[in-house]
């Protein structure tokens, strides 16, 4: 949980990551002025639908955005333990990657190198950062496999990725990421490619490891169910912007931004009468041409002329500390009531 007044571990301020598109179609503003804080020991969820900039945000933190075509704009700040990662020279940045901040990816099928054994791949980070000998690194890999709950780790350490199931591979990815006991784990859709029962196991594993190792987790997902069960605080992103931040309970009880509201309404509920599932009309606009004003206004049921004319800042909702929303409804709540 967030400890009020605790020092921030990872501070992201005004992050802008743009991509130059081919054939002069303009610049895709994938992440546009995103700010959030990650505190020690907490799980921060980042949610949003495809194309809203979640993954680019996570890649930007470790400077893994492919350049070209992408680039992080000057003026962006990613501060980890007082150092701006964006300004760090390459060798120092490599010392942070995998060691202090580690990352797991969406596709366990393609995120493992097919020509090396899983043991070799888990051992790699330990060899890079802790300069362990081959045999010590191997012992370490076996230990990590046991930690992430893979049976027969002594045998599995010599297996190749194609010999493992999807869930096992994701466990291996987690083992790779946690070898050096990082302070921050960025989990980019860690369960999207897995089936539901395996999803639950992997998320439980992450929760357990988080408590055992005392790390912070940045949980990136499009699945509100995952966020509800595992995150302490949530950042909702839409069209490259943060549209709402809140402690998880507050977000689910009092969603303030119409986009958040729409996302919650679109979750099928087992205890509700069976009706046609709610959907937010339209699609996320192209990142090369965000709409003027509030970027959600073309899809918003409450939008009025102010929303088209002027983009709202992140406004304090006022019900709970740390609950903010980028919506004019915060200042004019009566408009929402009148619509209903």
């Amino acid at each position: 949980m967030t400890i009020p007044g605790a020092p921030v571990l990872l501070r992201v301020r005004n992050l802008k990551t743009y991509f130059v598109t081919e054939h002069g179609k303009g610049t895709a503003q994938a992440v546009d002025d995103v700010s959030f804080d990650l505190y020690p020991g907490e799980t921060l969820g980042i949610v949003g639908e495809s194309g809203c900039g979640k993954t680019v945000t996570s890649l930007s933190i470790l400077r893994l955005v492919p350049e070209p075509p992408g680039h992080v704009l000057p003026g962006s700040l990613i501060e980890f333990e007082g150092r701006n990662l964006l300004a760090l020279p390459a060798p120092e940045l490599r010392a942070v990657r995998g060691n202090q901040i580690a990352m797991i990816f969406q596709e366990p099928m393609t995120s493992l190198n097919p020509v090396f054994t899983v043991g070799d791949q888990i051992a790699e980070a330990a060899i890079i950062h802790q300069h362990l000998s081959r045999s010590a690194a191997r012992a370490r890999a076996i230990e990590m496999l046991r930690l992430v709950g893979i049976p027969d780790p002594d045998e599995r350490v010599d297996h190749y990725p194609h010999q493992l199931s999807g869930g096992m591979r994701q466990r291996v990815m987690i083992a790779m990421a946690l070898v050096c006991h990082p302070k921050v784990l960025i989990a980019d859709e860690p369960t999207t490619a897995l089936d539901v029962t395996i999803q639950a196991q992997i998320l439980e594993l992450l929760d357990r490891l988080q408590h055992e190792l005392g790390m912070s987790v940045l949980l990136i997902t499009h699945d509100l169910g995952v966020v509800a069960g595992h995150a302490d605080r949530v950042v909702v992103m839409y069209a490259g912007r943060v549209v709402e931040t809140a402690p998880t309970d507050a977000l689910f009880e009092r969603p303030t931004h119409p986009y958040t509201e729409g996302l919650l309404a679109a979750v099928p509920r087992i205890d509700a009468p069976r009706t046609r599932l709610h959907a937010i009309p339209g699609q996320v606009p192209a990142a090369t041409a965000w709409p003027p004003g509030c970027r959600f206004h073309p899809r918003c049921p409450y939008a009025w002329d102010k929303c088209v004319a002027q983009e709202p800042p992140l406004l304090e909702v006022g019900d709970e500390a740390g609950h903010t929303a980028r919506c004019w409804l915060v200042t004019e709540p009566e408009r929402k009531v009148s619509k209903r």
Binding site: L64, G98, M103, E107, V115, F116, A125
Partner: protein
Amino acid sequence: MTLGTWLALFVALVVTAEIVRVLRHRAMRHERWRRFFRHRTTTWGLGILTFLVIVALAAPLVAPYDPDKQLDIVHLKNHPPSWTFLLGTDVLSRDVWSRTVYGARVSLGIGALGALVAVALGTLVGAVAGYYQRWIDAVLMRGVDVGLALPRIFILLMAVALWDGLPFAALIIVIGLTSWFGTSRLVRAEVLSLRQRDFVVAARALGAGSGRVIFRHVLPNAAAPIIVSAALGVGNVLLLEASLSFLGIGVKPPEPTWGNMIADNAPSIYTAPWSTLFPGLAISLVVLSLNAVADGVRDALDPRAEAA
């Protein structure tokens, strides 16, 4: 041919058969190497290459005569194949079989080493260009374009003219330096697609540096096309050496290579066809075998076949 040489030849054949049998037996345990032996031509290619390498290594045992010795310039000139001279004698009354066997040492040596230099250089340039992209890629690939555009024989002729009688090592280096362009393009294309793969991003996220990413994560995954291009490269270098020797600017006579054997005996090709036929046959056999083996290696290392 003496009894000793026949015996040596027989032993070489038996050893070859045994090596191929053992390799095949071992391969059956691994899915991917079983695919290697799936085609009969691959097995034959491997057998022929093994046999030629053994014969080349055991040249003093297998060759009955000194390859450079003119046995009897008056009576034994252009002697047709017989039990005494298995493949006949050439225009200077030298034993064609002995020369072919010793020539295998030089020809195969130049082929293998030249291809090694070429593939190593091509892989390095291709990997650097494909991984770093931008101006490095542009500069290197325009260089490759220039290299591909220049006729290779022309460059080699220039080198020979400057050097005046190339030593063996220099010949290998010059051949290697002019044979890597194709490989570098191949490797670059492979690296371009591999560097986008998730596991490469994952490796970088773990803190791996560029060198580590290239040599541990990218290149091993490009092994199949690299090995295939190496195998085909040996054949190409062999042909190049043959044509250089044919032009009289390769290995200096009387040192036998398959190329200069053909060159020496080309004038008597109608009267004594055996003295050009057999070295020519040897070259064709090696190139064909290498192609067959390269096919097998490609099948064995193709990751798409892995799933099947």
